[in-house]
Amino acid sequence: MNRKLTTLWRIFLSGTNNFVRNAWLSAAAMAVMIITLTIVLFSVIANATFSYTVQQIRDKIDISVYLKDDVTEPQRADLTAGLKKIGNVKSIGYISKEEALKNYIEQNKDNIDLQLAISETDNPLPASLDVKVYNPDQIEPIKTYLEKPDILELQSDQTSYSGDRKEAIDKIAKATSFIRQAGVVGVIVFAFISVLIIFNTIQMAIFNRRDELSIMRLLGAGKWYIRGPFLVESWLIGVASAVVSVVLCNAVFSVANSTLNASSFGLLDITYASNYFAGHFWMIVLSQLGIGMVIGVGSSFVATQRYLRIKDGK
């Protein structure tokens, strides 16, 4: 092993020893860092989950145009062509009377009364056009088109616009944006507190070891030989905090999934969230480690820069 490697190894060992020796100080710094990293992680997962939920509901939004029984095939084709000309229309599906009945029976297979009621009469369900849109917020042009008198004549029932679903989407979108903002604020606040605490931890460690550091300087230890162990110490705080925060999140999802047996918690789809966590596990671990190390080493770098001014002569 050459001298540089030996020195690097000694710096690493010394930092590790300090980390263990200053266990209580390290624990305080780690506690705040764990909170910060856990907030970061939960914000990311909650954000992804809410986005997914909103998308799921948006995808389900459709417009059902119920047709009178006497609408002919050419009339239906004209209506379909007319709707397709509207930019926001994504697809149009046709559900015949028979299919509607089949769907109805399928959906109500557990309700014998409803099944009996429908079998006693001739098929009362109308055929319909199932219109899917790109953007549920912009269905006005479709509405205007469907309310034209000649088009209205073809329709048997009031068109369904899934209005209640739209309200739900707005609510979720608001909640998502609030949680996203709260997450960002939380991350900034706790990251700042983490930086301050690690900064103070290192500052106290420097103060506790000031005699040793001055001896090291007088014996000709280089700047990085003195500074290195402090950086290693805070690097370890970052790494340990990242590991603990990932383990914590893992435990929370395991408990939520198995013990509570819940699939959703309020608006949060836990199944999706834990799948997201499992699917992105290594990316999450790496980014948590990255954030932990940047906060740890960054604040320690500034602290050592500030408090380890090596007296090289005036």
């Binding site: 092993m1 020195t7 014996l219 000709g220 280089g222 005036k314």
Partner: protein
């Protein structure tokens, strides 16, 4: 080995309060030089200038061919590795054993563990501390602690050893133990610069004595003596 040319060091802007006032001095390799003088005469300032803990206000300092004017901050650790320093208050690391304290000086310059295990016992033997490797500094007498500090200072085989009142905290017997070790190191070829208040030591050693008074050299005599 050591050359000072009209070196002045002032801590304040008033010119009459210079800690060192236009000092010129030349010390040959392998010399044993004793620097004496009352407190505040400028002895410690001189040593701090040599270890580059302080910069001179004016004048030229050249040690072992290194011109301090040309020295960059990043080169200072390397300079300090070439000069062994022994302090009056020992400056040992209390939580390390005797062996570890000496080894520490080698560790910071990246010497391998194998070499350290080989070198440290030899140096401890030179200073008469064989068998004390595992002791903590607080378990040793003042004289023994100072010898650990000397071992640490010479373990890197410096060409110059600066001993700043190494006997100041010791009783006469232990003080002489330390001086004998310094003489031994000098015989091996190291230039020794010793500051002391101890009249008995100065007079018995009969080495070159440089006397400082009020920041100036008041006397420089081979085989000199000192009266308080």
């Amino acid at each position: 080995m050591i050359l000072l040319d009209r070196v002045t060091k002032s801590y304040s802007k008033k010119s009459d309060s210079a800690a060192l006032d236009r000092i010129s001095l030349h010390i040959e390799p392998k010399e044993f030089v004793i620097i004496v003088g009352p407190s505040g005469a400028g002895k410690s300032t001189l040593l701090k200038l040599l270890t580059r803990e302080e910069k001179p206000t004016s004048g030229k300092i050249i040690v072992g061919g290194i011109d301090y004017e040309q020295l960059k901050d990043k080169d200072i650790p390397r300079l300090r590795r070439r000069i062994g320093v022994v302090f009056q208050d020992f400056k040992l690391l209390p939580n390390k054993t005797v062996f570890e304290n000496v080894a520490f000086a080698l560790e910071i310059i990246g010497i391998s563990t194998k070499e350290i295990r080989h070198t440290v016992p030899r140096v401890l033997d030179i200073v008469g501390l064989k068998g004390k490797e595992k002791n903590m500094p607080l378990e040793l007498s003042g004289g023994e602690r100072q010898r650990v500090a000397i071992a640490r200072a010479i373990v890197r085989q410096p060409k110059i050893l600066i001993a700043d009142e190494p006997t100041g905290n010791l009783d006469p017997k232990h003080a002489w133990d330390v001086i004998r070790v310094l003489e031994k190191i000098n015989r091996y070829g190291t230039t020794v610069l010793l500051t002391t208040h101890n009249q008995d030591i100065v007079n018995k050693l009969k080495r070159r004595v440089i006397t400082f008074e009020n920041g100036k050299i008041a006397g420089d005599h081979s085989g000199g003596s000192y009266k308080v």
